[in-house]
Symmetry: C2
DNA sequence: CTGAAAGCGCTTACAG
DNA sequence: CTGAAAGCGCTTACAG
């Protein structure tokens, strides 16, 4: 392996000088700089980043912390798209990305603490969080730089990049109300996830504002899996007074919903209208095409890296949380105006 | 930051001893070991992995090299599933994962050479490869450990984990032939990708064996995107003598195919039968449900990590390439027996 | 503008 | 079984 010393020897200068050339130190003569650079090129020299890290105490690496059941994650286009945003900006800024996942549940801090104490990364991106997440407490206690993609109730001052998820669900629900629906259900995600919680609030808020009831039978909590949507429908559709429209926490879950409805021979949107979240590429291809809230997934990832790098550079963070705008994409699955009941 | 020296001082031993305790050196007395370990716990000591890396010349990190247009990648469940397999086994074996992507096209070796020369990783996982991939040449020249998920013609001795992709396409095509189809098209991927090439061979082999023609009009090359499938159909369906069945390189592309056919008011499988590859979770939910070759994506990723770790440990590699088994999952999209033409 | 020296936090022959 | 010393490849005050 070629080191800085080899270059120094061949260039007839000291290792310190070579180091300075590499880091573009201002007070190096153009002449030596050129000479050293040429020799580095000739020998195909590449600095040992590990050695550099040790002394500079910086790694130019960002850690990506995947939430526990990474199993589920990748069944979801959402995380792919999020990663895409993260990779794009990190690569652009010459940062490396270290992928970690929570391991054993007996010690949820194991992975993160290895990362932080082992000085493997300069900062951490948290993809989603539980409602009371020990990882955030840990990171705050360690004063280790991080950004949460999502929202934390317990840690309102944590740097966050998120949608306004009360509003996203409000918009989805309101859209259904505007179509004339009065019995609107909600297929939610795991209740300990802040996202589920926020969207539940938005759903309830929209109903309350319209003077509608949120029948507890019309609310089901599940996972971010197709099966959850499937199961929710077996439940809903057997109710004597079933909803005529539903809000679904995630497109993937909505696919399960559509499948169940097809099997049960219900028509969407005629028998039941559906709106979901994320607007993944496939929503458009579902049958019928799925109305979905576009949450700007790519931008969420991209922006999170921006915010984290800003924190690392010591710049003051002006806004927190950073809110990524969303918008409802209306497609066939919710395009059915509920006829007014005969007023007799 | 707490270092080995702090521990040594408090335990009344030398730093060397602490280091030996950490690495479970055999010739350390249980007594000192216990004492040192307790102090490490009390101070919540975690070894600096960077420093350890510098001297041990090993990082316990695997690099994941994403192919160039990472943009496309994550629009595809396939890569998510592959990553899932990789993460699972790497985490289980206590390896970290560094995510890199090829950057500027002006120097395709830039990213990989940083990784290799910077000693950031112990080995590299290559996700897919071009037919003549300079990255593989580079890695071989540097004698740097790597595993290719996929196949390289130009480098037959490179460690590879792959499906038998000639056979996968043969099976898909043969299935359509068995259904009575004689005019079978192929919607392929980018021609410079080995995968596309192999599947083309399998497709042609199956046709040849059945004495069928592969009309060049029935073959379209594109990207791994839905748009490609969509466009292919506008082409195919306007042909005077159009195929009655098609093999599609990837489920994602097949979704585009299905969408185009729906818009053009063709029925699947009655007007045209479809078989594709990867068997992602959504294939089952397509309308109609998509026949697809399950290539064991998760296992592909999982196994690649196993093989790479085996190489790193110096174990001899007995089989190369490692072939992951595949199987055809028949669903509605290809369940239509072509009636025999009237024999007059 | 450049060099000698100390040091980042660890490991590992060597010696005892 | 344990310690002192040298060293991994780099950076950076300090001095000139």
């Amino acid at each position: 392996m070629i080191t800085i010393k080899d270059i120094a020897k061949l260039a007839g200068v000291s290792p310190s000088t070579v180091s300075r050339v590499i880091s573009n130190h201002p007070r190096i003569s153009t002449k030596t700089s050129l000479k050293v650079k040429q020799i580095m090129k000739e020998l195909n020299y590449h600095p040992n980043i590990i050695a550099k890290s040790l002394v500079s105490r910086t790694t130019h690496t960002l850690g990506i912390m995947l939430p526990r059941p990474a199993e589920e994650l990748f069944q979801n286009y959402f995380f792919g798209e999020l990663l895409r945003g993260i990779i794009t900006h990190a690569t652009r800024m010459n940062y490396e990305l270290l992928l970690t996942t929570e391991t054993s549940s007996d010690n949820e801090l194991h992975a993160i603490s290895r990362l932080v104490h082992g000085r493997r990364v300069d900062g951490i991106l948290l993809l989603g969080s539980k409602r009371d997440d020990p990882i955030i407490s840990f990171l705050e206690a360690e004063k280790f730089p991080f950004v949460l993609i999502g929202r934390s109730e317990a840690h309102p001052n944590a740097p966050m990049v998120d949608n306004d998820n009360v509003q996203t669900a409000y918009d989805a629900t309101h859209h259904l109300i505007a179509q004339g629906h009065t019995r609107i259900g909600f297929v939610s995600g795991p209740p300990d996830i802040t996202l589920s919680h926020d969207r539940m609030l938005g759903y309830q808020k929209a109903l309350a504002q319209a003077g509608l009831d949120a029948d507890s039978d019309w609310i089901v909590e599940g996972e971010f899996l197709q099966e959850s949507g499937f199961r929710a429908m077996s439940l809903f559709m057997s109710l004597p007074d079933r909803p005529t429209a539903i809000v679904v926490i995630d497109d993937n879950v909505a696919f399960g919903v559509l499948r169940a409805l097809a099997e049960l021979h219900y028509l969407v949107p005629e028998d039941i209208s559906v709106v979901s979240f994320n607007n993944i590429a496939l929503s458009e291809l579902a049958s019928p095409p799925l109305s979905s809230i576009d949450i700007g997934t790519y931008q969420l990832g991209y922006t999170a890296v921006q915010v984290l790098l800003k924190i690392l550079s010591g710049e003051p963070q002006l806004h927190n949380p950073v809110i990524i705008p969303h918008r409802l994409i209306v497609r066939e699955s919710s395009l059915f105006s509920k006829p007014k009941p005969p007023s007799d």
